[in-house]
């Protein structure tokens, strides 16, 4: 398999009134084509910053990110992004949202319609094409956002806590659906989450990040066969191991917040 995303020596610092914050420090990561990788860590560990850098929204201060051998300099439809807040355009219908990327590509109207219909079917949204996003539940909105990205046929999916705002049952069913789509379409997925269970359920590899400066603490390969059973002893052993790694970072995060509050 070819390497799809290569992150080498990436630093990212943000200037703030209280001095520079080092969000990412010396990140090296290689992701193969078709791999499902989760970035796991407490808030403030820079996992979203790293995802935004790969997406091209906010470029690294140091280092290079290459996608298929090309250095990332700007956002593009080859790296489809799914946001936690859905980011659907509320003034467009569901079908228009899903077709927008194809329209931008310059596809003929009939082709856009066919492709949109196929995607709406794939995501069980067919009867909602003419609705506006406001009529849809959170889970359905996120399906639309996923359909919108799949329309682009991007080989890479970047997902920023996409199921973080959903209730547990909806979250679970969308996780199943994402795995089905991933295995059918052979996408490379880079998925940000702070849920340990979600990362074990989904990923081929879990990259645990440290709290400020954001570095890679551990890179764990998950070999459990799919579909994964969250009640199995192997699942739980891994969960315990990850919990220890994450909770020490979470403690540092809480310490830092407490210190920031008391010095104010």
């Amino acid at each position: 398999m070819d390497t799809n995303i290569v992150i080498s020596g990436v630093d990212k610092t943000f200037p703030t009134p209280h001095g520079a914050v080092v969000a990412l420090q010396d990140i090296h990561l290689e992701i193969k084509k078709g791999e499902f990788v989760c970035l796991l860590g407490p808030s403030g560990c820079g996992k979203s910053t790293l995802l935004n850098a790969v997406a091209g929204f906010s470029l690294p201060t140091q280092g290079v990110i290459k996608v298929n051998g090309q250095a990332v300099t700007q956002p593009g439809p080859d790296r489809g992004m799914v946001f936690q807040e859905y980011a659907l355009f509320p003034w467009m219908t569901v079908a228009q949202n899903v077709g927008f990327g194809l329209e931008i590509k310059g596809l003929a109207k009939a082709d856009v319609r066919n492709r949109v219909n196929a995607l709406l079917k794939l995501l069980k949204l067919f009867e909602f094409g003419e609705r506006f996003p406001r009529d849809l539940s959170g889970g359905m909105r996120q399906r639309v956002a996923i359909a919108r990205i799949l329309a682009l046929d991007s080989p890479i999916l970047l997902m920023d806590e996409p199921f973080g705002a959903l209730d547990a049952l909806t979250r679970r069913s969308l996780q199943d659906e994402l795995l089905r789509i991933w295995s059918e379409l052979g996408k490379t997925v880079l998925f940000v989450t702070h849920s340990i269970e979600e990362s074990i359920f989904l990923a081929d590899r879990i990259v645990v990040m440290t709290y400020r400066p954001g570095t890679i603490k551990r890179d764990i390969r998950v070999t459990l066969p799919r579909p994964r059973d969250s009640a199995s002893p192997e699942f739980n052993a891994l969960k315990r191991e990850l919990s220890e790694l994450v909770s020490s970072e979470q403690a540092r995060h809480e310490d830092a917040e407490r210190r920031a509050l008391t010095t104010d």
């Binding site: 593009g76 489809g80 946001f83 509320p90 003034w91 990327g101 931008i104 406001r134």
Partner: protein, 271 residues
């Protein structure tokens, strides 16, 4: 409390005030020259509304005869000025507002000038408008355009600036060009603000038209009220004022229908 009975109470309030008004006239508490009773206003209104010449099937069509009453002619004159001035003001304010909202440099360039001009009420331009455009419709339209310009401009700027950055990121991620982002994302995302500005703008236009007609033209509702004052026709003054109120209400309702149609996707400001 159902909506129907609430509305019924609103109608009752109006009827109650009319009865009180009629009553103080009947009891002789106020001079009918100063405050004519509602029935006198209604009669005057009808005279004002009705065609002045008897219908003549030979020379004109029934429709143009029906519309030949003084009130209709005045209302159409005022509406024409409102719409012309509003369109001019809006067409100037929209592109400037969009550019100022989208570009920091343009904002910083234009903002000081606009902040100085904005507090000047359109009415203060009356002497200049007559000097520049003479009498008739042009100075009136100029004043109305100024009145409509600033509300539309300020709201457009605010609307563009309030566009949620996540929409821009999502659009860039889909490969949208700057032009596409502008036309398909920034413009629709700021429509709620722009329409609010237009609604305020047309309200201002309606205020300004009445004043403008008092100085520069010889028809229109504003002109007619002033003329009626010269003759001490207080019933006609009130009839004219109520006409202004009803037309203003109709315009606002029309704007609100347009709003609801264009913003059928919109519910509060959530994404």
């Amino acid at each position: 409390m159902t909506e129907g009975s609430q509305r019924f109470k609103g109608v009752l309030l109006i009827l109650g005030i009319l009865a009180l008004w009629e009553g103080v006239g009947l009891l002789g508490w106020v001079n009918a020259k100063v405050l004519p009773p509602p029935h006198a206003v209604a009669i005057k209104w009808w005279e004002y509304l009705a065609p002045q010449q008897p219908y003549d099937a030979e020379s004109d069509s029934r429709l143009s005869w029906l519309l030949s009453g003084e009130l209709i002619q005045d209302a159409m004159g005022s509406l024409y000025r409102v719409l012309a001035g509003f369109v001019v003001g809006t067409l100037l304010a929209l592109p400037i507002g969009l550019m100022m909202g989208a570009s920091r440099q343009i904002y910083q360039l234009c903002n000081p000038l606009l902040q100085i001009l904005r507090p000047i009420p359109p009415i203060a331009y009356i002497p200049l408008s007559i000097l520049w455009f003479g009498l008739g419709n042009p100075p009136a339209i100029f004043l109305i355009a100024i009145g409509a310009f600033f509300p539309v401009l300020m709201n457009t700027i605010a609307g563009v600036r309030a566009v949620d950055g996540i929409f821009l990121r999502a659009a860039r991620n889909l490969g949208a060009s700057q032009t596409t982002i502008f036309m398909r994302v920034i413009l629709p995302a700021s429509t709620p603000y722009i329409l609010t500005g237009m609604r305020i703008g047309i309200g201002t236009a309606f205020i300004v038209v009445i004043v403008a007609e008092m100085i520069a033209v010889n028809n229109g509702l504003g002109f007619r009220i002033l003329e009626a004052r010269e003759y001490f026709w207080s019933d006609k003054i009130i009839a004219g004022m109520l006409s202004i109120g009803l037309i203003g209400l109709a315009i606002d309702q029309a704007m609100s229908l347009l709003n609801n149609h264009l913003l059928r996707w919109h519910r509060g400001l959530e994404h």
